[in-house]
Symmetry: C2
Subunit: 232 residues, 2 copies
């Protein structure tokens, strides 16, 4: 359960290890949405045959981190605005309830683990490594789902967070603060206190904050605002 962030891979690399390495790279915004993922290229990088790479790409396509189109190959997914809205609406449906369960079940060990996450996250921000900070911020949420002991929901949340990373890469408003510094901390406090209502409420408002830091206006609204911007 002690997932490392290191990108080194076992020799020889397996489909799963490649999928994880790619997933991490996407999480950390080291590869942008839309980037082509050629099979030969990846096979060379990881020192395996295309067979293994294809397995990894198929895995990632199932969690919608990559798009595979027949005879066109794989590329990093690029969620539409509609998909982005759906992802956050779904998170707002699943995660508050999950935080509630986590509040009833959190042990001292769990709390310590979450606090360590927060420390790491702050350290990454200090070190001017926003990619890593974002990745850790996602891990924080999956960790809560794990604590809630709902493996099924945790699996769903994991894919939603993966997609959220793409959504943030595409639609994050520059002007909005990186925030949430306190949000996660307050949430841990509620979990430590086994305060279910508080945990659920905090998670809900945290997600709403995140959601509202995205620019999910559709193209029409966007061009209108562009027109506004240029008319000055």
């Amino acid at each position: 359960m002690n997932r490392t962030i290191d990108t080194t891979l076992p020799q020889p690399a397996t489909s799963d290890s490649i999928a994880q390495a790619l997933s991490l790279a996407i999480h950390k915004h080291r590869v942008a949405p839309g980037t082509k993922l050629g099979e030969d290229e990846l096979a060379e990088i990881y020192g395996v045959s295309r067979t293994v790479v294809r397995g990894a790409l198929q895995t990632l396509s199932h969690i919608k981190l990559v798009d595979i189109r027949r005879n066109k190959g794989a590329s990093v997914a690029s969620p539409s605005i509609i998909e982005a809205r759906e992802v956050f609406e779904t998170r707002e449906l699943l995660e508050p309830r999950t935080a509630r369960s986590a509040a009833t079940r959190a042990t001292a060990t769990d709390i310590a683990s979450l606090e360590r996450h927060i420390v790491d996250e702050h350290a990454a921000l200090e070190a001017a490594d926003p990619g890593r900070a974002l990745y850790l911020s996602g891990l924080f949420h999956t960790e809560i789902a794990r604590i809630a002991q709902q493996a099924t929901i945790a699996g769903f949340i994991e894919t939603l967070i993966a997609r959220s990373s793409l959504i943030i890469a595409l639609y994050w408003r520059r002007e909005s603060a990186l925030c949430e510094k306190h949000a996660h901390h307050a949430l841990v406090q509620a979990l430590a206190d086994n305060d279910e209502d508080q945990a659920e409420a905090l998670m809900r408002s945290h997600l709403v904050d995140l959601h509202s830091a995205l620019d999910l206006r559709d193209r029409n609204e966007r061009t209108l605002s562009l027109k506004d911007a240029l008319s000055q």
Copy 2:
């Protein structure tokens, strides 16, 4: 969107078509949980190489319809009691809300489609084809998720229903009636009336009914009750 139930496959079969055919067979309880799915065997059946079959099996493993263990191969999944509980708890979390959305968005065409589903389902029951009835019953739920226009949630629900089919195969109480004949009909009525509250409530109670028709006691309770049964 007019998914056929026919099991004939395109020539040549593709990974997706094989995955769908296998999924259908599992849904209809034509293959039991735990059944070994040998690659060579399937390759011969569908007239393709193992490469294609492996793709299909990997797809099915992602929605947890099959278990793949390294160097051990694939077999039809066999959800534990804990997983079964989780699946139904998750459905109870997602589907009522989805039914609510569906109630606001359902068009006359949608209602007609759902009513056709119900007719087909009854026909299957009349024809003593419980497998097909069960499959159609699952389709009814995915159809509602589709009507709700929440593709993300619909995808989750689809995998939950697939797993429910396995759970029903494993844990359905013989003595419990096949029921739900009226449940689906009442739900369609609520959707047709755009009665959100009613749709949500009906879906919730329908799922609770389903859940309670399963025998999800753990082994200890089970053996105890066996003792009771024999002590008479």
